[in-house]
Amino acid sequence: MLEVRHLSAGYGKTEILHDISFTAETGAVTTIIGCNGCGKSTLLRAICGVIPASAGGIRMDGDSVSALTRTGRARRAAFLAQGKNTPDITAGRMVLHGRFPHLSYPRKYKKADYEIAEAAMARLGIAHLADRPMAELSGGTRQKVYIAMALAQCAPIIIMDEPTSWLDIGQQLRFAEIARGLADDRKTVLLVLHDLLLALKISDSICVMENGRLLIQDTPAAILQSGIISQIYGVEVCRLQTECGIQYYYRM
């Protein structure tokens, strides 16, 4: 479980996040939504320790992150950042680096680490690409490699910033299944998504942000009913019960 309490953070002296509190439950998919520039990615960076918090606290499975080492934090939470370098290494090696927090100096990967990395790639359907250089892969396939790297980290909390960017619609739906599968495996899944319909479809809980503040955290149905989506996005989203379950669509 991930608990964020009264968190404020920013870059230098500029505070971007103001007094944010929410909880991402174990075994659930929690998604943060909001317009561009509202502070979603900054919030994830603050949670993962990439930028320091100026106030408030974060607890991972009950422990305050301020008491955890950087490696200890990485063992608790895997973070898939939004903007990523494309290193000149193979996809297999890239995924293997997800095991990095589990090593101690001098860090050398063991047989078990290779097996976990291979299993993570197999789960994403990219095991056959292990020897391919990252630079030769398409944007979507590369994104799958990054996701596999986060899975190989075997952290109880998985945090992903825009994981479906670069993925085609089929791959996005496949990712939705993976996210749900991770939650079913008792992982805490925290996502930032721009695709509202996907967020409503796969999430157990949704946090809505605006101008660095958290406006509301609730279930997708309650968020939809509150009217806050049309308030901040200026679009109307409708809910429809179908034979395939509940579906969401935009009303033009």
Partner: protein, 333 residues
Amino acid sequence: MQSNSRRFRLLFIGAVLLCFAAVVLSLCLGSINFTPAQAVGGLLQKGEKTGINILRYARLPRTAACLASGTALSVSGAILQNVLSNKLASPGIIGVNAGAGLGVTICCALGNYYGLAVSLSAFLGSLITVTLICVFSGKTGASRTTVILCGVALNSILSAVSESVTVLNPDTAVLTAEFRVGGFSAVSTGRLLPASVLILAALLLCCTLFNELDVLTLGDESAQSVGLPAPAYRALFLVLAALLAGCAVSFAGLLGFIGLIVPHLVRKIAGNESRHLLPLCALFGAAFVTLCDLAARLVFLPYELPVGILMSVVGGPVFVWLLLRMKGGHRDA
């Protein structure tokens, strides 16, 4: 993943054999030629014969200097390229060598011509240069190309300061033209030994940090998300790169291109993973410099060229050829 390891093993064995062949040739060939058996016998014998003296006091230190400088500059170049995420970075191009050269010049101007003081001055000069480049790129958010241009500018400034010190202080006349282009004809064990110890220590430390170097290339956010304190490790690698380049410059002079050419060649044949890249850069770099020095000694017998000149003549066109062949090479700039 296994096919990569098999390929690396073959390349590693090939590089070791190439290095061995370069060492044998470097010891045996020159103004006086020896057979391998004579060379080994000469090195093991006691006595004061001319041949033995040539082997022991000229060929052996010279070959050791070639191996040490080739290894150090190649590995330093590979580290700089990874840490600065820029494949055009190398100690010669971004001014690290020039900083080390200024350190040596100032050290000589202060009356210290040999020993650990020269190596440490070179290290300090290269470290200050690397720090300046990092501060500049960090403060301004400079692009990769700008970082290189900044290094080129620093290179010119530092070379100009070195020249000024040499002109104003006659004591630094010991820094001959060969030092400024790089060469081994006057290599001294007084400079070579302390520098080699530092180079060996830096290489051993590098060998325990392959994965850290690779994780650093994933970018700060990704590196920190897997528990690597990126700024601290970036600083550590820059210190190691500066130490390697500085120590090499302290006895070999301002050798150019080696830190650029060798890592590029190795990347092309062995990929970019540090666990393969750094050991192969060390071996191929050592062999490359030793063979270039051998050629510089033999081509114009009885005269010899400073090896730095030969390297620039060979290295420049090879680098351009590599750039032209590099598919999508513009992405790296």
